[in-house]
């Protein structure tokens, strides 16, 4: 199966737009890291540093009417799809006003009604959910929508990945599966995770189209992911995108990632996609260093103001909690716990 390489020429506007979302994600995650270090965020903090180019390319190429199920490292994709600094901070800081109301946190946030699905931790599980949503749309005669979800190299070893992608392929659903092969699953290297030469080799076995992107090059990501989403939209069935890159942080903020091979860090994979994109902008003279500084400044200000605001917001009150896991109150089990 041929590896499709995108045709559409990257527009300066799209590059800049994507870059600014990457900056927002990067600075927001820096803030989350510092809030975590100062003990203001409880539970884990899992960041996508180094994966912004690929992630933003997914969110930015989707329409509001599409479906997006982001995963662990998709702060950039989330923001591009419509998630906000406000709701991100509310969820991490456990504000009662956040979309998860303190019931779930961090990367598990979402607004399913708006097509922005809230991941469960069990990796691979969102693939069939997005596929089922697309099946539903088709049954109702709604066409033109696509569903995208992201995955890591480790998650390709789950049965959920296999069953979900296969079922989507059988139904020829407009599913775009974007795999960020950041070389490790927590501490486990690719060599202990799979034996194929390239994760893209899996495409043919599912009868889906495979696409390769350069995970540290924003232009490549925008182009390849854009092409994949386009083919899905046009009825090409499931599309598998694989990009190699490196996460430039620990698995979570508790992890120093000492296990990452320094040779890989020194390699092309180890480049920071934000720095690379910034250099490209300056080189192309699409913006000046001053422009970029001012963007960072305004992003910084937005994050600081929002953080201050959210930190004053109420946290969930257990006494107000209805402790009800079903929506139909007639069906609440009356066991005394």
């Amino acid at each position: 199966m041929p590896v499709v390489s995108g045709q559409t020429p990257i527009l300066q506007e799209q590059f800049i737009k994507a870059f600014r979302v990457m900056l927002l994600a990067r600075l927001l995650e820096d803030k989350l890291a510092s809030l975590y270090r100062s003990g203001l965020i409880r539970g884990g903090v899992f960041l996508g540093k180094g994966q912004e180019a690929l992630s933003v390319s997914v969110g930015i190429n989707l329409n509001k009417s599409d479906i997006f199920a982001p995963l662990i490292r998709d702060q950039a994709g989330r923001l591009a799809f419509g998630d906000t600094v406000l709701d991100t901070l509310r969820t991490y800081l456990g504000s009662q006003l956040g979309s998860m109301r303190g019931r779930d946190g961090n990367i598990h946030r979402g607004r399913p009604r708006e097509g922005y699905y809230a991941m469960i931790s069990h990796l691979g599980a969102m693939i069939p959910a997005v596929s089922g949503a697309l099946l539903a749309r088709r049954m109702r005669g709604e066409t033109g929508a696509v569903g995208a979800t992201c995955l890591g190299d480790g998650a390709t070893s789950t049965g959920a990945f296999h069953e979900g992608l296969n079922a989507a392929a059988v139904e020829k659903l407009p599913l775009v599966l974007v795999i960020a092969n950041n070389q490790y699953a927590y501490s486990t290297p690719n060599t202990r995770q799979f034996a194929c030469d390239d994760l893209l080799d899996k495409a043919i076995g599912y009868g889906v189209t495979g696409h390769r992107a350069d995970g540290v090059d924003l232009e490549s990501c925008l182009e390849v992911v854009g092409a994949a989403i386009q083919s899905a939209r046009e009825g090409g069935g499931p599309q598998l995108v694989v990009a190699k890159l490196l996460r430039l942080v620990g698995h979570g903020e508790h992890d120093d990632a000492h296990y990452i091979d320094s040779a890989i860090k020194q390699s092309a994979l180890g480049r920071d996609c934000v720095t690379v994109a910034e250099a490209r902008i300056l080189e192309e003279k699409w913006a000046t260093a001053e422009d970029i500084e001012s963007w960072k400044k305004s992003i910084h200000d937005e994050i600081e103001t929002t953080t201050a605001k959210v930190r004053k917001e109420p946290t969930p009150d257990p006494n107000e909690e209805d402790w009800c896991a079903v929506s139909d109150t007639r069906l609440v089990d009356n066991s005394q716990s």
């Binding site: 979309s99 998860m100 109301r101 019931r103 779930d104 598990h108 979402g110 607004r111 399913p112 009604r113 699905y117 809230a118 469960i120 069990h122 599980a125 693939i127 069939p128 959910a129 997005v130 596929s131 089922g132 949503a133 697309l134 099946l135 539903a136 749309r137 049954m139 049965g159 959920a160 069953e163 979900g164 296969n166 079922a167 059988v170 009800c324 896991a325 079903v326 929506s327 139909d328 007639r330 069906l331 609440v332 089990d333 009356n334 066991s335 005394q336």
Partner: protein, 323 residues
Amino acid sequence: MSGGITYLEAIRLAQAKVLADDPRVFIYGQDVGSFGGAFKATKNLAKEFPGRVLDSPLSEDAMVGMAIGAAIEGMRPIVEMQFADFSTCGFNQIVNHAGTLFYRTGVCCPIVIRLPSGGTAGGGPFHSQSMEALYAHYPGLVVMTPGTVEDAYSMMIEAVAIDDPVIFCEHKLLYNHLKADALPSEALPAGQAALARPGRDATVVTYGAMLHEALAAAETLASDGYEIEVVDLRTIKPIDTDTVLGSVARTGRLLCVSEAWPWGSVCAEVIARVSSEGFGLLDAPPQRLNAKDTPVPYHPDLWSSHRPTAAAVEASLRELLRM
């Protein structure tokens, strides 16, 4: 048990009705399409409702995951597991995705998962399981266990109407043996137990196929002058504790019967509730009768000793009545 409509046909007709009445309903599962399902519970439905009864790949995890996504988009999928036993392969999506969606996100997950449950002669360890207790343990799921043709029909219709995930445990032993004259026009709502037989000497709380073992035992004991009350739980999550307590208040004696394994079964839960909330009502220690704590054996002679039978229920009741 005269009459013409079987328990299985009632389930098929209920699915036909919801497909006809509600465009959001569709059926997804292995061989459910033109083949009509391993037990024929979807016979002819694919023809009657083109494009709405879909054969799935051999992928329980994906089957449930797809249903969840469709439900988020406003559909009302019914997933057929070929046997309840294979739902272990879709377990994660059921308990961790369907079961948590509403609490976490406020978005409902109206899916129905049909589990052809329980033992049959020669079924063996992997085609005989009663998994209701597993699903009842997890928050966020409704677990139905119809024991009559009428309930199989009305509860299936209600299961699809409910906005929460429903685990629908239908008993394979009743599929073709149990018959009714007509389908019900009305029914008790989900979550309410039924008084299957009134009595005053002892209460048997049960559900599913065991309902009929209990009724048979009650009939036998009637000839000795004992009046045994039989409560059919119908739904085991939630449990209608009030009806159970009401019956025990009348009889003072409780035997709980389930085909499932003992540890943490419906029997344990019901006895715990009655002991905690109705301790004063009990004139004798509450008793339970479950399957043996081993895999369900293949050989019919072993199987019939592994599961509670009318004879075993009768023996337990006589013991309870002596206490």
